[in-house]
């Protein structure tokens, strides 16, 4: 397409190939004449002038957009207008540039040699020679200094140099095995109200924290009222549920065992908790065992108790580590002693 419009020329800058592969002729459809100043509208001053005006008009719009942007700024800013003016200004500037390059600036297709992007064998040999000047001397006596001394010394010193990285964080220790729940901790809501047995309606749910640790990232739990429905408790143990009249209260870690999102959706019809992140689904009546999705384990259950005054408390921290897995977590079961009810 372009070939019919522009004369093709052979560049003289790099010259034809030398050395290996020399004598490769230029492609025979490349005409020999060279005119570096040719552009499409060169021979038509009238059209060229009109093109100049057109380009100038585009750039004038850019200037108007610039003034517009300043006005918008002075008058307090307006995001949509700012974006539109910015876009129009840049677009017109770009369009002008394209027209300019396309019609008024030299730019026909040219053919050049790729030249050599690699060095000759002699040059390479010379480099090896220069290198050996150093390495031969360094590696004398079978490289005693380099291999036996410098390498281990560098290793030791290098490790010492990156050692301060260890200050970046504490060691995991037992952090991942515990939450802020403790024996006797009252359940409180986000706004620090203690939770009474009658606070949650049947089929209702509430996000709770251990008293004194509202907002702690490992401790959020979800308290559900399953009414009189039968619930299974973990590993056949009892003492997790609080039953009072028509209320049956169970409490689970809200941190998904898949990747740690807050399990915050509840389907009342199927009594399932659903994690919005990757749609793991947990069956509340069956100890929040996962029934769909990538979550590999049940949500840990909090052993609930109720005080004389009717407020709920935790009899213990979650027995097993909450949330997603990790290398030393062990299996859930090993964390279950008999729970005293």
């Amino acid at each position: 397409m372009t070939a019919t419009k522009y004369p093709r020329i052979v560049t003289g800058t790099h010259g034809p190939e030398e050395g290996a592969g020399a004598g490769t002729p230029w492609p025979d459809d490349v005409p020999p004449e060279q005119d570096d100043t040719w552009y499409p509208l060169r021979d038509d001053p009238w059209k060229a002038r009109r093109m100049e005006y057109l380009i100038a008009a585009f750039w004038a719009v850019t200037a108007v957009c610039g003034i517009g942007l300043m006005v918008v700024y002075w008058t307090g800013g307006q995001t949509q207008l700012e974006g539109a003016l910015f876009a129009a200004g840049a677009g017109c500037l770009g369009t002008g540039l394209v027209l300019w390059a396309r019609f008024l600036l030299p730019g026909h297709e040219v053919t050049g040699s790729r030249g050599h992007h690699v060095s000759s064998p002699e040059e390479r040999a010379a480099v090896v020679e220069s290198l050996s000047r150093g390495t031969d001397a360094m590696m004398s006596r079978r490289g005693f200094l380099v291999k036996k001394v410098l390498a281990p010394v560098g290793g030791i010193f290098g490790i010492a140099a990156i050692w301060p990285l260890a200050s970046l964080g504490p060691r995991p220790g037992r952090y991942l095995y515990h939450t802020k729940w403790y024996a006797g901790a009252r359940l409180v809501t986000e706004d620090n109200r203690p939770v009474h047995v009658s606070d949650v309606m049947v089929d209702g749910l509430l996000t709770v924290f251990p008293e004194g640790y509202i907002g702690d990232a490992s401790s959020p739990a979800v308290l559900l009222n399953v009414g009189t429905a039968a619930v299974s408790e973990p590993y056949g143990e009892s003492g997790f549920e609080v039953v009072s009249g028509a209320n049956g209260l169970v409490c689970f870690s809200k941190i998904c065992t898949h990747a740690g999102c807050a399990v915050s959706l509840f389907n009342v019809l199927s009594m399932q908790l659903i994690c919005p992140c990757h749609q793991s689904t947990f069956d509340v009546l069956d100890g929040c065992k996962p029934v769909f999705g990538p979550a590999p384990r049940a949500l840990p259950q909090l052993p609930l108790g109720v005080r004389e005054d009717g407020y709920l408390y935790a009899k213990h921290d979650f027995y097993q580590p909450i949330g997603p897995g990790f290398w030393n977590r062990g299996s859930d079961r090993q964390y279950f002693p008999k729970v005293s009810s």
């Binding site: 492609p27 700024y73 995001t79 910015f86 990747a259 807050a262 999705g293 997603p324 030393n328």
Partner: protein, 497 residues
């Protein structure tokens, strides 16, 4: 203006330019280099511009990013909001979140800059991904360009991390959930996971007060520096090796056909910068993105449905959804679930991509140097593999939006996930086979998949006479690829034209 006048003006200009260049050359001896730079030839093909789009996105990202950094506060100190955005009044939030809200509502042009920055990041990654596909499907990574492939993939990797770290800075509910998931992925690494996570975050999730600062330093200093350095190296290698080109009339392994850097290519390239700016700022002003004031500040006890990561991490999020509920446990140790889709999968994917130039050599027993590109059809196997990988990518990306798609199509997300789980196996196989057969078919017919036929398709009619189809065409260049016969035919067609 008369020609005489113009000529004398030109002479004067040349004199002045000469003086300026003398000044420089007296000190740097740079004339030879400048001459060859100005005369440098760049082939014209639209697909070669996409890498440039990425580069200009990077420029805009730097410009808008510096502006944003002047307002952002990387602090996790908790404050109570009493600003101009009424719905959040009285809410507790981190200073980081508050600073982004203030930037969005109280700083003139602040929201434009923020949204433009976010859009530019998405386009940046899209351009890089497209550029990589172009290089892959045309075999531009072959010798001598392996180094630039490696640098390019590293650029992609760092850009993804850079994008994710930036997405996380506002400390809103969405990005907080994203960070929670990433924390879990890091924590799931065998042996070192918990230790690594504790060191990066400065403690158990959500990390110490230093974490946001770390993220900020990584996002606005460490990664941009790496990107700028690697981009420089990428361009330097390209400059030295010169651009690849499609085969075509008059094109050989030893020559290069195109327009010169000065003025044609330089001006057009600046125009491209302007067009990228037009799109980025147009979207930034007119199309809302990441409205963090709707999501609210991050709280560990909350996450909302319909959470969507930026598109380029969607495939990993989708993989997390598709990987079954397996994790492996023995001898008191376990390899936790997120490790497989979150670390192993991208690990394998990137290893294969990094190693591809060498795998490709072995597969096609082709260890030679190439400056002319393959057409995708020339290497059906490579094309099929690439298509299969793309379909896998699309499948997992779709999986990251199962809730949204499910709502839209009135399908349960369970069914959708199951379909996509099978799809991640079946889809690539089907796609690969179709691509392979299409390549073979195109090889036989010599037709262009989208353009009209080119050059010499010779048909023989019932009387035994030969006709050339499409003889009146204007010689699509860059289209007469393939075997030597085709090139000859293309060249002849060209001479006729």
């Amino acid at each position: 203006m008369s020609t005489v006048e113009e000529r004398s003006a030109s002479r004067k200009r040349a004199q002045r330019q000469g003086q300026a260049l003398d000044f420089v050359d007296d000190r740097l001896g740079s004339s030879k280099w400048i001459r060859s730079a100005l005369d440098k030839i760049f082939p014209d093909h639209w697909s070669f511009m996409v890498g440039e789009v990425a580069m200009y996105c990077f420029v805009l990202l730097l410009a808008t990013g510096i502006y944003l950094a002047l307002f952002y506060s990387p602090s996790s100190a908790v404050v109570t909001y009493h600003g101009s955005y009424a719905p959040l009044d009285g809410q507790k939030m981190t200073q980081a979140y508050e600073s982004v809200i203030n930037l969005s509502f109280n700083v003139r042009f602040g929201l434009l800059m923020r949204q433009a920055h976010h859009w530019a990041a998405n386009i940046f990654l899209a351009a890089i991904a497209f550029h990589m596909c172009r290089v892959f499907f045309t075999g531009a990574f072959r010798r001598p360009r392996e180094a630039n492939w490696i640098i390019g993939i590293t650029l992609l990797l760092i850009s993804m991390l850079e994008g994710f770290s930036g997405y996380s800075l506002p400390d809103d509910l969405l990005s907080g959930s994203g960070l929670r998931v990433v924390y879990s992925i890091v924590q799931s690494i065998p042996f070192v996971g918990p230790w690594l996570a504790f060191n990066v975050w400065g403690g158990p999730f959500p990390g110490s007060s230093a974490f946001l600062q770390r993220l900020f330093v990584i996002h606005e200093f460490l990664f941009p520096l790496l990107l700028a350095g690697l981009l420089g190296a990428h361009l330097a290698v390209l400059w030295h090796q010169k651009h690849t080109d499609f085969a075509g009339p008059g094109k050989t392994e030893k020559n290069i056909v195109g327009s010169r850097l000065w003025p044609q290519y330089a001006i057009k390239s600046q125009a491209l910068l302007m067009f990228v700016a037009m799109v980025v700022f147009g979207l930034g002003g007119l199309v809302q993105i990441n409205p963090i004031w709707i999501y609210g500040p991050f709280e560990a006890a909350r996450s909302s449905a319909g959470t969507q990561p930026d598109w380029y991490v969607g495939w990993l999020d989708g993989a997390l959804r598709l990987w079954p509920h397996w994790e492996f446990r023995s001898f008191g140790h376990e390899i936790a679930n997120p490790f497989f889709p979150g670390i192993l999968l991208p690990g394998i994917v990137f290893t294969v991509i990094y190693a591809w130039p060498w795998i490709d050599k072995r597969v096609f027993s082709d260890y030679g140097e190439h400056n002319l590109l393959d057409r995708p059809r020339d290497k059906p196997l490579r094309t099929a593999l690439g298509v299969a990988a793309l379909i896998f990518f699309i499948d997992t990306t779709l999986a990251s939006a199962t809730d949204l798609i499910g709502n839209g199509l009135q399908v349960s997300f369970e069914l959708l996930i199951e379909i996509l789980q099978y799809g991640s196996f079946v889809g690539p196989v089907i796609g690969g086979v179709v691509a392979y057969r299409t390549c073979i078919l195109l090889q036989r017919t010599g037709a262009h998949p989208v353009q009209r036929p080119v050059g010499g398709i010779i048909v023989r009619d019932a009387h035994g006479a030969y006709h050339t189809l499409g003889a009146e065409h204007d010689g699509h260049e860059g289209n007469g690829h393939g075997g030597p016969e085709e090139v000859v035919l293309g060249a002849q067609a060209h001479r006729e034209a």
